[in-house]
Point group: C2
Chain length 407, copies 2
């Protein structure tokens, strides 16, 4: 698999997070020579929050995480790569349950403190014998590094993805390390988005959940590769509390704003990395909509542009085809007046007042579109609603990857 | 342009419709050697009905048709191919108005009796001098044939599209001829769907509208090529009244059921022809959803499957990837229970009771998927809602056509 042209030059140096250890092993869920089972051991007192797919056909793993999140405490995270265990009925449920029992026995903790994700082919029950053999191995492994862990959760990703940040909470420095896998909010059988955020900060679970929801609204909820939502998308945030800060539990606590800002930037960067590994992506596209009736309306319009195959193929072809942007605004169904729209690629305005801008220099725009990062800026001209959404272009690569993946 | 592999073997023999004449001419809206201006002259007393794009950025032409449809009478239809005149501000509006004045003067009728459509590149005002020269020519032309007319309204279509039918209304035989252009409900700048239905039956305009709405719900509203809705989609039905039947004005009139059935079949066939010329299409896909909470819910689920790039690429790859169908059902947001779904390709059931069907013969299914017409049959297992939607697969051809169209 060729590495995405949009991949960062290298994997960043992530901070060690006090209170957790990472382990990886070969469960051989597929016929491959790589680690595909991940175990992250978390210290007592770790709080947890999560956002999960809204699919009506969610996997067992998602349903288990949703149930366990009601309690807010975590002692371990297990990730299986190579098999999503989604749509696998009673057998899949049993396999999931067996892993959870075994890990909770090993750690001597409650089952509700174990979190689990699986990613890979759909419809094949997770082989419990392979999981058991994998767990036997992993319980005897030495801790491994962040790059090794980030690689072990990948499936068809073309590069491992890590993000770091830090924040000062009332004089105490806290660290954030995060890993994510995925090539979009896409297929259940190949490109589930799984992301995990770890911090040594002490944060009350319900407040961590509030902050994660807020960060999610401006990051993971604002990306799309191909409009296909996975059955297994999962983002979990774990806070070990080892940094020694006074526990955060509300937005007006000292340092909560700093942590929120750090979490926002981590989530946004994680989300961007997924788009940059979007299947077949050759360009990273930022869509800024302002002037809409309200923020929700702006978001729907921005998503409509981001999900339009015709807009995405135009960008792939480096074609300043603003007519397709008009079409995508029109089909969104939100308040818009053809004659009030302004459309620009980067800072190059191309259309205004219901028509093309007279004598705009198409060569300049075409030149701009040759870049790797493209902004589509739209002013609806009605009110003050704004939204930003990120996506990638639609190329032959997408068809190549998806027209023959499973067989 | 290679003709779609799904094209019918030949253009059908359409009946002459008493009360109308077709004319075509070269307006040279683009640098091409073909007729691109169409004028269909309709006799006095012709009633008309229409369904138009719901885009919030609809073209001038659509807005004019919408306004004129309030009156229900038609004397002429003008179609410009090669320029959509959409998003062209005051200039485009003026060009449109000039054509309408000229045609109404020529015929000595009211402006509200003239209908107009344009299709082609967006954002370039329709050149009024070319339109005028074209009209000068066309007013002196001899009437032409249906195949010539069907070809003149095409843009990037790979074949001209015609459909015929007839019905008995209380002992009087009435004829229907219809033409349509489009490669999907797609881009404003290349593939607007324009369809026109002509009958010699006598039908009250408001009743014709009721029947057209009904037929539309089960035909044009049930197709998708790439989920991108045009700014200019237009379907118009004209009834000249020359067949001499007693005028139809309600569903319980004698023969109304026969005409409704004929109209239904004509609209469905027209819609199918558009899908069969879907950009890059190699397979015609019928998606049948039953067992949903209600019909609307079934329609949303069927559209979610039909618009999923991952389902469409799987079919292109002849891959029985039912996991992607589960994903598309899950993301639709409608009531569904993973463990109650049944999924079949044609009559080959592949998944049931929350998992793959044990030992289903994948070779048989793969063989089925090598065909040109593929059925995806889904039973949600909840209630009695049903819907059928048609689409095509997503191939390299789509990217090829769209990544460099305008420039």
């Amino acid at each position: 698999m060729k590495i995405s042209p949009l991949a960062p030059k290298s994997f960043p140096t992530l901070p060690e997070i006090d209170g957790l250890d990472c382990y990886t092993a070969r469960a051989q869920y597929k016929e491959w020579d790589r680690c595909d089972l991940t175990f992250i051991k978390l210290c007592e007192g770790t709080s947890v929050a999560g956002v999960l797919t809204q699919s009506k056909c969610a996997s067992h793993e998602v349903m288990i995480c949703r149930k366990h999140l009601l309690h807010g405490h975590a002692r371990a995270l297990i990730v299986n790569a190579g098999n999503s265990n989604a749509f696998t009925g009673e057998k899949g449920r049993t396999a999931c349950q067996a892993i959870i029992s075994r890990v909770s026995n090993h750690l001597g903790c409650a089952e509700r403190e174990i979190y689990i994700s699986s990613t890979g082919v759909i419809g094949v029950p997770l082989p419990i014998d392979k999981a058991n053999q994998g767990l036997d191995k992993i319980f005897n492994e030495k801790p491994c590094s962040w790059p090794q862990t980030a690689a072990a959760i990948c499936t068809t990703d073309t590069f491992p993805k890590g993000v770091r940040s830090s924040a000062m909470i009332a004089g105490t420095k806290v660290q954030i390390a995060a890993i994510i896998k995925g090539s979009g909010m896409i297929a259940p059988d190949m490109a589930t988005m799984l992301g995990y955020i770890f911090t040594d900060a002490a944060i009350d679970a319900s407040f961590l959940q509030q902050m994660l929801n807020k960060a999610n609204d401006k990051s993971f909820s604002c990306i799309t590769v191909d409009s296909d939502t996975s059955t297994s998308d999962t983002i979990l945030a774990f806070a070990t509390g080892k940094a020694g800060n006074e526990k955060l539990s509300a937005f007006d606590d000292a340092g909560a704003d700093a942590f929120m800002a750090a979490l926002d930037s981590v989530c946004k960067e994680m989300a961007h990395l997924v788009v940059k590994d979007g299947e077949g992506a050759s360009k990273f596209i930022e869509i800024n909509v302002n002037g809409a009736a309200n923020d929700d309306s702006a978001h729907i319009i921005a998503k409509s542009i981001a999900n339009s195959p015709l807009v995405k193929t135009a960008i792939a072809g480096e074609d300043a085809n603003w007519g397709r942007v008009v079409m995508a605004i029109g089909k969104a169904g939100e308040p818009a007046d053809r004659d009030l729209l302004t459309i620009a690629f980067g800072h190059h305005r191309v259309a205004q007042n219901g028509g093309a801008i007279k004598g705009f220099d198409e060569a300049l725009v075409t030149d701009y579109l040759k870049g790797e990062k493209i902004e589509i800026n739209v002013d609806i001209g009605l009110a003050k609603g704004i939204s930003t959404v990120w996506t990638c272009d639609l190329t032959y690569g997408y068809i190549e990857i998806n027209a023959d993946y499973r067989s």
